[in-house]
Symmetry: C3
Subunit: 341 residues, 3 copies
């Protein structure tokens, strides 16, 4: 599709600087865009490409309007406006209704006639597949799982029994929702399995990354709120609750029974211990370890950056003496004060 800048300005409620009849049909980067593409400037890092851009239009903050050599869409949140324009020009694929002959759908499943079931997908008895749902090739929807309208499972996704996924969700390949939580009771004979009889409830507008795993609850459900975004290779333990619009970057893990608030952001490889409560509006930078409740919104960190190996090792060795060094320092200060007083 192609659209005029005038229509874009009206549709997304932003001011236009330049010719409203210019047409664009796609998005591109500031550096490589040509005349039929919309680019954006959100991060000042890329401002050096603004003067030379050949884009059909640039979405940017009004403060940069004077520097823009081409038409500009002026937005206070240029990244979000760009996202919406990109979503309009590059809409998600539409799938033909119907069941691929290679799919295996149990006759006791309820599949909306507008849903698409791809090649070699499996839908078991009792599953309920809503309107316009797309279940891609190789996906497995186990018994009694439910999928809300307009949700897409891209490929090779597994929904375990009884899992419920909301509307307009996007589950990337290899995601596994509802495998057993990791619950064992140690006794003399080893580790006795605790049956995991809860399930998983996923809200609306949730995106779940490739090969990410969300475990079913031990007794009650694991709950993923509306608008949550999980990156690839994320692990969500049993009985975790994640509040709306929270995002976890790749390789993060949340241990069992932790409750995370709304609008939190977690950097990659973050680890969150079990049975914690984390309030709304918390940001945690990458590779952090969270071992206690967080009661105050704000930004938290815990990842130690690299150094040259030889230097790092010396410092790490001192780390292991740190308490002793601190005692020596504090003892010295005390004795000097006493001696001087």
């Amino acid at each position: 599709m192609s659209i005029t800048l005038g229509e874009l300005a009206v549709r997304f409620g932003v001011a236009l600087q330049g010719d409203p009849e210019v047409r664009v049909s796609r998005v591109a980067s500031l550096e490589h865009a040509d005349a039929d593409a919309v680019a954006f400037l959100a991060n000042p890092r890329w401002r050096r490409f603004l003067a030379g851009t050949r884009a059909g239009a640039v979405v940017l903050d009004p403060q940069y309007a004077a520097e823009c050599p081409v038409p500009a869409l002026l937005a206070n949140n240029p990244y979000a406006v760009y996202a919406r324009i990109a979503g309009l020009l590059h809409p998600p694929p539409v799938f033909e209704p119907g069941v691929d002959p290679g799919a295996v759908v149990d006759p006791r499943a309820q599949v909306d006639p507008s849903a698409h079931i791809g090649a070699n997908a499996v839908v078991q008895a009792g599953a309920r597949i809503g309107p316009r749902v797309a279940i891609g090739p190789g996906c497995v929807v186990m018994r009694d799982a439910e999928i809300g309208a307009d949700t897409r499972l891209v490929a090779n996704v597994t929904l375990c029994p009884g899992v419920r996924v909301g509307e307009r969700c996007l589950l990337h390949p290899g995601a596994v929702i509802g495998a057993d939580g990791f619950g064992f009771a140690p006794d003399r004979e080893g580790l006795v399995k605790i049956p995991q009889i809860g399930s998983v409830r996923i809200g609306n507008d949730v995106e779940i990354g490739a090969n990410t795993t969300v475990d079913r609850g031990a007794i009650e459900d694991t709950v993923i709120g509306d608008g949550v975004k999980l990156d690839n290779l994320v692990q969500i333990g049993h009985n975790v609750h994640i509040g709306p619009h929270t995002a976890l970057a790749a390789c993060s893990g949340v241990s069992g029974s932790t409750k995370i608030g709304a609008r939190c952001m977690f950097g990659g490889q973050t680890g969150i211990a079990g049975h914690l409560t984390i309030c709304d509006d918390v940001t945690v930078t990458g590779k952090s370890l969270v071992t206690g409740n967080i009661r105050k919104p704000g930004t938290y960190s815990g990842g130690l950056p690299i150094d040259e190996t030889a230097r790092f090792r010396k410092n790490a060795a001192r780390f292991h003496q740190l308490d002793e060094l601190a005692r020596q320092l504090l003892g010295l200060i005390r004795s000097l004060r006493n001696g001087q007083s």
Copy 2:
């Protein structure tokens, strides 16, 4: 099914306080249980729910018996007894023997007639599938792989050629057993692949989490002992040996050729370097890095908890000066001692 408290007490060898004729049919949490459910109290954290519980019975330590307002099953290890009761009331699913018409089973595979092969599963030539094995939808069992009695591959699991899995194992969706180990020899032209000609041997009663990977050995086998439990997204490198009843929580990784003892527990995101030996009965808390042998049973840690970002960054900057600071401190102490002596 439903069962009386009297039968439960006899079957699991625990004392009953209350009416032996009360029947229960499921488990539930102390907080939400109703009269046909058994709850448990293992963690003192939940003791506040005991007085108000409406459970049919509670499994708990004799020290809390007097506080329990409903019948009580008195156990020294209430969590393990609860686990066994839950396993009785919520048994794993039973699968119909036979091969789903959508499955592809090579005629040169040996499949026990009591085994279940699900829709769109693939079983290659030479594979041997034992009695009552359940191979779920989308699983791939490659040539010459062997699966012992009563083992279940839930869905989309991959067993690579020649892998052997024991009895009563449970492999969650997306697990990959027997992919090539990461072995390359650097030379002038790049990284030369070392063929990975060993395999993987998995014992009995092993549970392997969703999207977990266990690599085949370079020459000899990777070995997972009886009763080992691996959580989701765990990586086990080539030629690793894991002793019986050891558990690794999610996102942990064990590098090649490391030998881990029996009954160890590793928290999530733990990393264990290669070619190490870790003795029995070691516990390592989450996000730790193990770079040397562990010869003494005990509990080890290595994950630095978060702080507010501004404070964390100041401390991290000092970490990178730590050896120099320590030298200054120790030099100062020395010179003061010399001056004072």
Copy 3:
């Protein structure tokens, strides 16, 4: 196959010490090899097995030749020569050309007649599958994806739309190439998805581990250079570029838009922040966090090793006071100097 030591010496350009007519047919470890096996000694750790070996021949550095009780192939890089011999004696499997009847191949896909498409694999419209490619069971090759000659997708691999994979690549089970990058613009209503319209380009001779994920670019492509090796459970973010012959060990993650040079090596669980540049020939040890550009080749570290928990906790508590302690120390030194001068 079996081959004489004389032929091996000629083929791989190394000196032979011993009888050139001895035949070998496989590789084995120094400790367990018998007379028809070639072993190797690359790591001095295993030197203790040399005197007792029963191997048909040992590949080793000339400095150990005198200690070798059996024929020896003398090489300056014994590990790489061993790798090549092992590759000759244990060649990768060959697949029959043709499409398994259980596979679903769209008639609008181009599949070379010499390619193999396994049971329950799916190849969508517009895909192009080169000569001698092997697509294993359960793999999904989505529309317009391209696969170069002699590449193998082992099983349950997903290639998303438009992804391009080079020649002689090996993709292990569960790998997902080309899922959407993690791009969202926060605004008042939550996180607005940025359509990910770039793709992934993978060079030749690349190996990608089990359940590893490589995201498609936001606008332009994610690029994996020739000869790159990614271990299992690795995450490569959108628009990352990885230079030739670089290797990342398991559970590592690279955030969006980072550019990594050639011949780098990253230990397991390493995390690399976004928008960085890392030069050629950098080694980073396991569990490191890279938050800034690396401009100098060398070895870098950032993972703090474990200690006994009680001791570790004391030191970690002091870490959180480190800046204050350093200030006290430096203040003390300053005041003593002033007092003494």
